[in-house]
Amino acid sequence: MEIIKLKKIRVTQVASLGFIVFALLLYFVFNPRWVPDNRTFGVSPRTVPNLCAYAFAALGLVLFLQTFGKKAKADTSIVELSLQGIKMMAVSFLSVVAWAVCVKTTHYIPTTGILLCVDMLVLGQRNWKVILPVMILFPLAFWALFTYGFKMTMP
C-alpha cells in the first residue's frame, strides 16, 4: 500500500507560518479599516479582530521558534496517510459535496439514496440485500420524520 509520509515538525512549521501570514492579512487587509479605532485599545468593531490578529501573530511566532528547539528537533514523528485511504475519504467527502449541490435539483430522496449506495460500495459493502433497504429506507425515514413530524419541506 502506497503511503504518504510527512514530518510533523515540518507540518508545524508550515502551520505556524500560515498563522503569521493569516494574522498579517487580517490586520492589514481584512479587518474593517473604515471603522474608526480609538487611540489605545480601540473600542470598535475592530477591537476583537485586531486582538485576534495580534494573538495569531504572537502565538504563530512562538510556535515557529519552538520548532527550532532541542526537543522539537528530537521529535521524529511523522504523519502517515495511505493513498487508498485518501481516495476513500475523497469519495465520501465528495458525496457530501454532491448532496449539497444536487439536492435542490434532483430532489432529496433520489440524491440521498444514490449517494448512500455509492458510498457503501466505495467502502466495501457488496451485499445488495443490505445496500438496497438502506438506500431506500434511510432517506424515506428522514423524509417522513421531517415532513410529517416537523412540518418541513424537504427539497
Partner: protein, 509 residues
Amino acid sequence: MLEGLLSGFGNVFTIDHLLLLFGGVMVGVIVGCIPGLNGLMAITLCIPLTYVMDLNTALIFLLGIYNGGIYGGSISAILLGTPGAACATCTVLDGFPMALKGQSGKALKMALFASVQGCITSCLVLIFFARPVSRLALYFGPDEYTLLVLMALTMVGAVAGESMIKGLLAAVLGIWLSTIGMDPLAAISRYSLGNTYLMNGLQRTAVFFGLLTMPMILNQIEKIAHQKPGEQRTSLLPPPASKADTRVSFKEWLSALPTMIRGSLIGVVFGALPALGATPAAFFSYQVASQHSKHKEQFGKGCLQGVAASESANNGTVGATFVPLLAFGIPGDSDTAMLLTAFMIKGISMGPTLFTQHQDTVYTIYTALISSNLVLLVAMLLMLRFFNKISKAPQSVIFPCVLMACCIGIYAMRQNITDVFVMIIFAVIGYVLKLMDFPSAPAILGMLLGGTFERSIRQSLLISKNSLSIFFSSAIDWIFWAIIVVVIVSVILSRRKKNVKPVVNTEGE
C-alpha cells in the same frame, strides 16, 4: 418549602402526568439523538400540543422534553461519534473512543448516570439556593464576564492537545470565527464580503460538525483502507470483550463520583450565568477533570471519567438555567427562552413576582425536573439496549448513513443549503487542523464564547474609558487572573517534567 415540594410531587405523581412525562422524555431523547436536531426543536414542535393541556400538565410535558433532549445528544455522540445536540460535543471526545473499544454500553450508562446526577444536583441547587445564586449572578459585570471567558479558553486551550500554543491558537481561531458577521454593538458587517449569509454569522452547529464530527468520520474511513478485504463489512463498533464492558460497576461509579460532583457544580455556575450554557460547561468540566485525574493520558482515548465530566456538567446546567429565568425572567439559553414562551402562553410571567403569586407553579417546575430525571433513568436503563443495536451495523453502512444524516440534520435546522456548504468548508479546515495536531475543542469553545467575550470586553472598555484597570477592579477579577496564571504555569511545569504527553487527545482515538 417541604409542603410545597410535597404538593409538587403530588401533582407529578399521577398516572396521567407520569405517562406524559415519559412521553416527553422519550420525544426529547429521540429528537435529541438525531444529529442536527435538538431539544429546542422538540419543544417548539410540541408547544402546540400544550394548548389543550392545563398549566401543570403542560409544564411537566415540556420539562420532560427539555431534559430528555439534553441527554439524547449523548447517545449518538457515543455510538456514532456525531453529537445529537451541540451540548454533547464534548462527550464525543471520550464516548466514541470507548465505543470503538467495545465499551459503548458502559459509556452510555455512565453518560446516563452522570446526566441524572448532574441534573438532580442542579435542581437541588435551584430549590435551595435559587435566590443566593441569582444574587451571585448580579455580581458579574462585563469585566468579570470577560475574564471568565478568558479563563475558560485559557484552561481549555492550555491543556488540550500536545502543545499549549496550538491549543491557544485554536481558541483564538474560534473567537475570530465568532466575529464573522454583524458586529454585536454597532451595525457594521465584518468579513461578510457583501454576502447576506455571512452577515448573519456562521451557523455554529454547522461549524462544529465540520470541525469535529466530519474529520473524525473521515479519519475512520481512512482507516478502512488499512483493513483486510471483508473487514469493512464487520460492525463499526466491536462487541464487548466481557460483561464488565457493558455496565458501570459500583467501584467505577464511585471513582467517577468526585468528577461528577465537580462537573455538576461547574454546570450550575455556567447555567446560572446567562449566555454561557451547557456546551462550554461540558468542555470546561472535561478539562478540569483531565487536570485532576491521576490518569491524564487516558483522556481522549476512551476514559470513563471524561464521559462523566462532560455529561454531568452539561446536565448540571439544566436546573441552574432556571435560576435567572425564575428569579429575573431572563432565559439562560435558547431552550429556556422557548420554555419561557410556552409559560407565557399559559399566562405565567416569570420574574420576582412568580415566587409570591404562583408558588405552586414554582414547586411543580422543581418537582417535574427531578421526576423527569427519575423517569429518564428508569426508561433509558430499560431501553439503552435498543439504542445500542446501532453499534452492530457494519462500518461500510454506518459511515455513509452518518455522513448523510449530518447533511440532512444541518440542512433541516434552518432549511438552508448554505449551512451544509459551511459544514463542508469547515470539514476541510478541521481535517487539516487535525493533521497538524491542532485540537478542535478550544476552537469550538472559542466560537461559542466569542460573542460573550466581545460584548463584555467592549462594554468594559467603554465603561472604563479604555482603561485596562477595569480588569483588576474587583475581587472576582483577581481570582480569575490568579487561576489563569496558575493554569499556564502549572501546564508549562508539568509538561517540562513529564516530557510532554498530551492531556487531551481530541482526535477521538
